[in-house]
């Protein structure tokens, strides 16, 4: 059996190496860009990345929520649980999770890039 000192050195080394590897993985992995049409109810719970044009922006009253309508060949609603500075007509690159809301698929946005800036 390993003594405590050896085990500690091994554990710290593996921890740091593993975290480093995961950091590289995070930095280099990206969800593939998909069309908005692929965002449907059958993909509920999945994370997707789409690029589309914002055709409407609405901020919920008394809540830090922004509701966007994204348009490509069709429209989809997207929700951001934050107040975001997006204008109608902007092209956005979003990563979000597909959820069903009131019978329609929508995106709950986790990451939003507007015209090349976050």
């Amino acid at each position: 059996m390993l003594n405590d000192r050896t085990l500690l050195i091994a554990s710290v080394t593996v921890s740091l190496a593993g975290i480093g590897a995961l950091a590289i993985l995070l930095a280099t992995s990206e969800l593939p860009l998909e069309g908005l049409a692929t965002v449907d109810a059958s993909r509920e719970g999945e994370s997707v990345r789409v690029r589309a044009t914002v055709t409407s922006v609405r901020h919920a009253k008394n809540a830090s929520v922004t509701i966007l309508t994204l348009s490509e060949t069709l429209e989809r609603k997207a929700v951001v649980f934050d107040v975001v500075n997006v204008t109608k007509g902007a092209v956005v690159d979003v990563i979000g999770d597909v959820q069903e809301y009131q019978g329609e698929p929508e995106l709950v946005i986790r990451k939003l890039v507007v015209d090349g800036r976050r």
């Binding site: 059996m1 390993l2 405590d4 085990l7 500690l8 091994a10 554990s11 710290v12 080394t13 593996v14 921890s15 740091l16 190496a17 593993g18 975290i19 590897a21 995961l22 950091a23 993985l25 995070l26 992995s29 990206e30 969800l31 719970g45 994370s47 990345r49 990563i95």
Partner: protein, 401 residues
């Protein structure tokens, strides 16, 4: 007919809870996710409320039975992580079943108390949530600093917290990763503890099958009160798990001893679950995977739903109490005849085999890393609760970022 359907769903949920509770590494969140995914198919045979009854029954039963692998196998989940060491001490003295029974007292009385106090908790949640909401990030940060500073080895405590926190931030942000919590928590609290157990334990003494519980009433009352406080805190503060909340409540109730600690440990996850229903009703917020699943199944949760869920909780509590006593005796006998090291090795292999199935090969990398991180507190002898940084740090960064 509706009553029979609910009863059947609750019964099946209890059986599922037995499987998840006794099997290390299998979390109720996994089964809850499967239920939600299969809801369109299951919905043809069961109502959505019945599916919720299944989830609740499973969650309550799991919270009773998860002490058994924690004590006898040294294989906890995040909720029972802090209970492993005192539970293991009982096991090494041949009192493993006593540890299970003490935990059972906490779960049973904790469940009944939290149902009885439910109206009071909903009022407290309503009154105090605006305050908590404004300061959640800072409050959690203060809790983390408090836990680090109270530890004898502050530098190591901070190191473990930051390592686990960095790991959690990375894992929870990896795109496309399925079931990220499985390898993360299994490694930190499951495999790491089992590995230490392999290093330190070669065989176990004969286990007493009818140990007498000798706990002072004052200690029992204090432990149960600490459990209710911890449960309330987990309902209010996202990211604060039962283990971390228990550490905080122990600052008020300091002299519980091992008996009292096991009672507190037993009450933690049960009370946490019941009070998460209060958060769901009052705040429409889910504090654990089971309640998230319920939220996804039901468009809106009403008071009538909650009252039904509380009734199912009490029903499951009764069944789970009997099952815990029975399985506790089974494990007590098993652990005396089965080769302990072979058993622990088998469990580790089971988790290792399950990981790539649930979380792909990235999950294996996470499991190896989280196991290494989880070993550090055990080796340097700091509190394992600092490894909860894997969930706390991402939440703190979310609220303060």
């Amino acid at each position: 007919m509706v009553f029979l359907e609910l009863l059947l769903a609750a019964l099946l949920g209890t059986l599922a809870g037995v499987v998840t509770g006794l099997t290390p590494g299998i979390h109720i969140n996994l089964v809850s996710v499967l239920i939600v995914t299969a809801a369109p198919l299951l919905g043809q045979y069961f109502s959505l409320v019945s599916l919720c009854a299944f989830i609740i029954s499973m969650s309550v039963t799991h919270s009773f039975l998860d002490t058994i692998p924690s004590v006898f196998l040294g294989a906890p989940d995040a909720a029972t992580a802090l209970g492993v060491l005192p539970g293991h001490r009982y096991l090494l003295r041949g009192w493993g079943l006593m540890a299970v029974k003490l935990s059972l007292v906490g779960s049973l009385v904790g469940a009944v108390l939290s149902v009885l106090l439910f109206p009071l908790f909903t009022l407290l949640v309503t009154l105090t949530y605006p305050f908590f909401k404004a300061v959640i990030g800072w409050l959690l940060l203060a809790i983390v600093l408090f836990m680090i500073l109270r530890d004898r080895l502050k530098a190591w405590s901070a190191f473990v917290f930051l390592l686990a926190g960095a790991l959690g931030v990375l894992v929870l942000n990896l795109p496309g990763l399925q079931n990220p919590l499985f390898p993360l928590l299994s490694g930190l609290f499951g495999v790491a503890t089992l590995f230490v157990s392999l290093q330190e334990t070669t065989s176990l003494p004969p286990q007493q099958e009818s140990p007498e519980l000798n706990v002072r009433p004052g200690v029992t009352v204090q432990a149960l009160s600490a459990g209710q406080i911890a449960g309330f805190l987990t309902a209010m503060l996202p990211g604060l798990g039962p283990a971390s909340a228990a550490v905080l409540s122990l600052q008020v109730f300091r002299n519980l001893g091992d008996h009292g600690y096991m009672i507190l440990q037993g009450s933690l996850s049960t009370v946490n679950f019941v009070l998460s229903l209060a958060a769901l009703l009052v705040l429409d917020k889910a504090r654990n995977g089971s309640v998230i699943a319920i939220q996804q199944l039901l468009a809106s949760v009403t008071l009538a739903h909650i009252m039904l869920f509380l009734a199912i909780t009490l029903t499951a509590t009764g069944a789970a109490t009997l099952l815990t006593l029975w399985f506790g005796k089974v494990f007590c006998r098993l652990v005396s005849v089965v080769n302990y090291r072979a058993l622990v090795t088998g469990i580790i292999l089971f988790i290792v085999i399950l990981t790539p199935i649930l979380s792909s090969w990235t999950g294996v990398l996470i499991l190896i890393t989280s196991t290494a991180v989880g070993l550090i507190p055990a080796i340097v002898k700091v509190a394992r609760v600092h490894a909860m940084g894997c969930l706390l740090l991402p939440v703190i960064l979310y609220f303060l970022g």
